[in-house]
């Protein structure tokens, strides 16, 4: 027969097990929500494959008032830079524009006008003031597909040598710039 001590401890185990299970689930949810707050976990981020890849081969034409660029130009870059897909018809891009301009002195920004009429894209850049050191046009939107872009705006931080170091699908915010983009760019410059 079972000694009373072991019966008690088994009952205790059976009482604690569901509580421990619930606590584990709770900790998991807490970690997920905390990660969402910090930006380290994003359930909408569907673009993990872009990271640490060489940029896809492309050569895009000029978009006034800048001159276009190719994957070779990104490969030849000696400092980190931000590639930003945008369009004049995209509302979040309008909101994002002042942030990109404030970034201008600290990190070069190269722009790709996605599926936009050249005049509209030029007008957009003239209205907001251009943050773009170089500006290319992707009218058919096929280069964007090669990059894994699913909508504008999207930004990629490119390492010297042309690999993708960081990516976000959606507009940049001051917080993303301060906490993620600039620290990573500083690290890449070292």
């Amino acid at each position: 027969m079972m000694p009373p001590g072991s019966l008690l401890s088994r009952r205790r185990v059976l009482t604690i097990a569901p509580l421990a299970g619930a606590a584990a689930v709770g900790v998991g949810f807490w970690a997920m929500l905390a990660g969402m707050g910090r930006g380290s976990f994003d359930p909408h981020d569907i673009h993990a494959p872009a990271l640490n890849r060489q940029v896809p081969p492309f050569a895009l034409p000029d978009q006034a008032p800048g001159h276009g660029f190719s994957s070779a130009d990104l490969g030849a870059a000696t400092a980190p830079l931000l590639v930003n897909f945008f369009a004049s018809w995209c509302i979040p891009c309008v909101i994002e524009a002042p942030l990109l301009i404030s970034l201008k002195g600290r990190l070069p920004v190269w722009g790709i006008a996605y599926k936009d009429r050249p005049d509209d894209a030029a007008g957009f850049v003239t209205r907001t003031g251009s943050p773009y050191a170089r500006l290319a046009a992707d009218r058919p939107g096929l280069t964007a597909i090669d990059w894994g872009v699913s909508g504008v705006p999207e930004s990629f931080l490119i390492r010297p040598g042309g690999t993708i170091a960081w990516h976000t699908a959606g507009p940049l915010t001051q917080e993303i710039i301060d906490r993620q983009v600039l620290p990573l760019a500083a690290e890449l410059r070292r």
């Binding site: 009373p4 494959p49 699913s150």
Partner: protein, 153 residues
């Protein structure tokens, strides 16, 4: 104003029904001339998630990006790529998320197995509980027997 809106409602509904499904791939200019290739392209497209609407295939979606992706699929089909090559091309760019039917990996396997596993765990717990109830009470120990005899005296 309200009456006008109510009067227009059937017309709007009818228009939605008529226009809705016509948005996607019915444009003949988009289709491949070879019907077998076109059928293959449609089969592949119906397995690819539209990244804008997220719960529709690119064949069903009216989004701009879906149309571009349909075009890319058709270019690859016309170039003679296999279904697998085209799927892989998409996954390299957009990740597994673009597959409407998830790939069988350890993680998805665990997800599928979670319901049967929960059932088994429940059955084990119930069986343990019932077995415990069925145990006969432990016989009294010498000290307890003496204590009871004292109380009954």
């Amino acid at each position: 104003m309200r009456r006008l809106l109510l009067a227009l409602l059937p017309a709007v509904l009818l228009a939605t029904i008529l226009v809705g499904p016509a948005l996607a791939v019915s444009d003949p200019a988009e289709m491949l001339k070879n019907p077998r290739q076109e059928a293959r392209a449609e089969a592949i497209g119906s397995q690819l998630r539209c990244l804008v609407c997220q719960n529709e295939s690119i064949e069903d979606s009216g989004a701009d990006l879906a149309r571009d992706l349909r075009h890319v699929v058709r270019v690859h089909v016309a170039a003679g790529d296999s279904n697998r090559q085209i799927m892989d091309w998409m996954v390299v760019r957009y990740g597994d998320f673009i597959r409407l039917r998830p790939r069988l990996t350890w993680v998805t396997l665990l997800l599928w197995a979670s319901a049967p596993l929960a059932l088994v765990a429940g059955l084990v717990a119930a069986w343990l509980g019932m077995r415990r109830r069925a145990l006969p009470p432990a016989p009294l120990e010498a000290a307890e027997r003496i204590r009871i005899a004292e109380l009954l005296r």
